[in-house]
């Protein structure tokens, strides 16, 4: 009986390897590779333009794929999705303008590096972190996909609710020196996230009669405002150029940036694992993954004060996580038909128009296409990391443009990109309002990253809270009866108490040092 079980397991492994290779073989055709490359170029461009990103790119490409074979269409989509993070990281670093929402985490240290004239170093590091993150993500997904259903089913609404709170808590503690202000801003972000139609109780909330707000505050226009517009207002006030040093842009450090990643392998591996594990949880998305990876890296660092001032690990951690997340986000999308984010929701539309219904049956019926898609996505991530570097030199000169030229051009593109998301002029107003808010937050030293995470998580956290309450028939015991929930609650308490413990520990250390100095 044992031998029969072992034989069955070996057969399963052989079949899985066969499918992996089948997917890779399907990709190694000139025409398919051509579409992957085309998708990669489109992804780089759409990733670099604030407000567009992978969701818009796939939505626009969807009708154009009608005439393509399903495998080729998925290869094209994989090419787009794999390259978007690299495109977004270039503008994040150079202009503090995240091309896509997850790249907002890259701004925190990438842009200070650009201001110090180290744009090449930051972009090189982002490129290789992307590539390695994608490879680690792919390996993890290939290993996990066959058993993914069991893993995701362990998470229910109580765990998703607590995961949301955990993400908020850990990001708040990462805003070192400003944890209290981080929590205040997090609460403000949650309050904004509750604006709009409430699908739990029905009816709209906090819209004050404005029809546009029924859909809530749109995330991307808000992000463009918080980062791009706020930064341009700051540049107008400050004057000069983005690169404060005024010295020539040091693109020569790009190779050093590529190699820098290998000096920080634990950061890359940690970021990739966070991207892979958290990315597989529906509803959290790339933005949470990127900020979580950044926060955990800052927490784990021996020199946390350097984060936010141009620490290269602050670029590597989110970039590795974003690409790994892009791979693992396929797990809930393909296995359960639950999109891990907006990009995956649009991608599901593409699957459906090509006759593939996402869900457990897809894993059985379209394995070659699935593995082909994973390989295409990985290939695009790795290729884009190097092709993207070719565009860096001209783009890096942007950091030396005078604010008098740069500001109107960036604001024009930012507002047009914001409008283009769903062709609503109200998006432009949201961008302007969040731009002013973002500037005030910079001016009064409130961390902007907390508002982003709260905006992303707010609606889902509330939905999961209500579902948990329904499951527990109105009682809180639902959170105590499930081992993963209990583990998450302990983790949240530990994270929130961490600054107090650290403070006490530092005090004790100072006292000990003082005692040693004054000793005999």
């Amino acid at each position: 009986m044992f031998a029969a079980g072992e034989e069955h397991r070996q057969k399963g492994i052989c079949l899985m390897l066969e499918m992996w290779l089948g997917g890779l073989q399907g990709l190694l055709h000139l025409d398919v590779l051509g579409f992957v490359f085309l998708g990669m170029v489109i992804g780089l461009v759409f990733g670099a333009i604030p407000g567009l990103g992978g969701t818009t790119a796939i939505a626009l490409l969807m009708p154009l794929t009608y005439g393509l074979e399903p495998f080729t269409a998925l290869a094209l989509a994989g090419g787009v999705m794999g390259a978007v993070p690299m495109g977004g990281s270039i503008t994040s670093i150079l202009l503090n303008t995240p091309g896509t929402a997850p790249n907002a985490a890259t701004c925190l240290d990438g842009h200070p590096l650009a201001q110090q004239g180290k744009a090449g170093l930051a972009i090189g590091a982002a490129g290789s972190a992307n590539a390695i993150g994608a490879i680690i993500g792919t390996v993890s997904v290939l290993a996990v996909l066959p058993i993914a259903s069991d893993l995701v089913l362990m998470f229910g609404p109580p765990e998703f609710f607590l995961m949301g709170l955990f993400a908020l808590a850990i990001v708040a503690t990462a805003t070192r020196g400003k944890m209290l202000r981080g929590l205040v801003v997090g609460a403000l972000g949650l309050m904004i996230a509750f604006v709009g139609f409430n699908d739990v109780a029905g009816g709209e909330r906090f819209t004050y009669g404005i029809e546009y707000l029924w859909d809530g505050i749109h995330l991307v226009p808000a992000l463009i405002g918080l980062f791009a517009v706020a930064e341009m207002i700051h540049l107008m006030v400050k004057g000069g150029s983005v690169a404060q040093s005024g010295s020539p842009v040091k693109i020569t450090k790009m190779t050093a940036g590529l190699l820098e990643v290998f000096k920080h392998m634990p950061t890359v591996i940690r970021g990739s694992l966070i991207g892979t594990i958290v990315g597989a949880i529906p509803g959290l998305g790339g933005t949470v993954v990127a900020f979580l990876s950044y926060s955990v890296t800052a927490q784990a660092s021996k020199n946390p004060e350097s984060f936010g001032k141009g620490n290269i690990q602050g670029v590597i951690a989110p970039e590795a996580a974003i690409c790994a997340h892009d791979c693992s986000a396929l797990i809930p999308t393909l296995t359960f038909g639950i999109p891990a984010g907006a990009e995956m929701a649009v991608f599901m539309g593409l699957l459906i128009i090509h006759g593939m219904q996402p869900g457990p049956l897809m894993l059985r019926d379209h394995q070659v296409e699935i593995y082909g898609l994973i390989w295409a996505l990985t290939a695009s991530c790795v290729l884009a990391s190097f092709v993207g570097l070719l565009f860096v030199k001209p783009l890096a000169k942007i950091t030396q443009l005078d604010s008098g030229i740069l500001v109107p051009l960036v604001l024009s593109t930012a507002f047009a990109g914001s409008f283009a998301i769903d062709m609503a002029i109200e998006n432009v107003i949201v961008t302007a309002v969040f731009g002013c808010l973002g500037y005030l937050m910079m001016r009064y030293d409130y961390p902007r990253l907390m508002i982003v995470v709260a905006l992303v998580l707010g609606a889902n956290t509330e939905r999961n809270f209500h579902q948990s309450m329904l499951m527990g028939e109105g009682g809180w015991s639902i959170f105590l009866n499930r081992p993963i929930s209990v583990g998450l609650m302990i983790a949240i308490a530990a994270v929130l108490c961490l600054p107090i413990f650290r403070g006490v520990f530092n005090q004790l250390r100072v006292r000990k040092l003082a005692a040693e100095r004054s000793g005999p």
């Binding site: 626009l60 400003k178 609460a187 309050m191 109780a201 400050k238 047009a416």
Partner: protein, 165 residues
């Protein structure tokens, strides 16, 4: 500068504004059904508590310093000790330039607002030569039009003043 518990009064302003926002939010929230308001009201009350803690942490009192030590272990610098300070008039002007551009887009649409704003901003703020401002204004408009209207097939907003265009 007037001080309150050892801290300049102006430093309390952001927390005070957030406090008012949270109160308005709570008042609005209590107008909804118990189920609809359950979570937002909880967050609203949490916001009020956090803002009050933030206000306390800003004071130079024993409680404020304890809070700062606990929740801000990296020793939060006070605003009056921070980096460069810019002239308030300059800050207001910068915010108005950005808000004015958004208003111009809403009124005149992208194809009017972009050249006008790029030209005006470069000429008045950037002090660039007239021909340069004209060329860059036209080029920026052409880029926006080519990218969005031609390449992406997105019809740019025509503006409230020219809805028929």
């Amino acid at each position: 500068m007037r001080r309150f518990f050892g801290t300049p009064v102006v430093d309390y302003l952001p927390a005070f504004v957030l406090f008012i926002i949270a109160v308005i939010y709570l008042v609005t929230g209590y107008g909804y059904t118990p189920q609809a308001r359950a979570f937002p009201v909880t967050v609203g009350w949490a916001a009020i508590v956090l803002v009050l803690l933030d206000i306390t942490a800003r004071t130079h009192t024993a409680a404020g310093e304890t809070l700062t030590r606990w929740f801000n272990p990296a020793a939060l610098p006070k605003n009056d000790e921070e980096g460069p300070h810019y002239a308030r008039a300059k800050e207001i002007a910068a915010v108005l330039w950005a808000a004015g551009f958004a208003a111009l887009i809403v009124l005149g649409g992208f194809l009017v607002a972009v050249p006008v704003y790029v030209f005006a901003s470069m000429r008045l703020r950037g002090k660039r030569p007239l021909w340069f401002c004209l060329v860059i204004g036209a080029a920026a408009t052409l880029f926006i039009w080519a990218l969005f209207t031609q390449l992406l097939q997105i019809e740019l907003y025509p503006g409230m003043l020219f809805p028929e265009v």
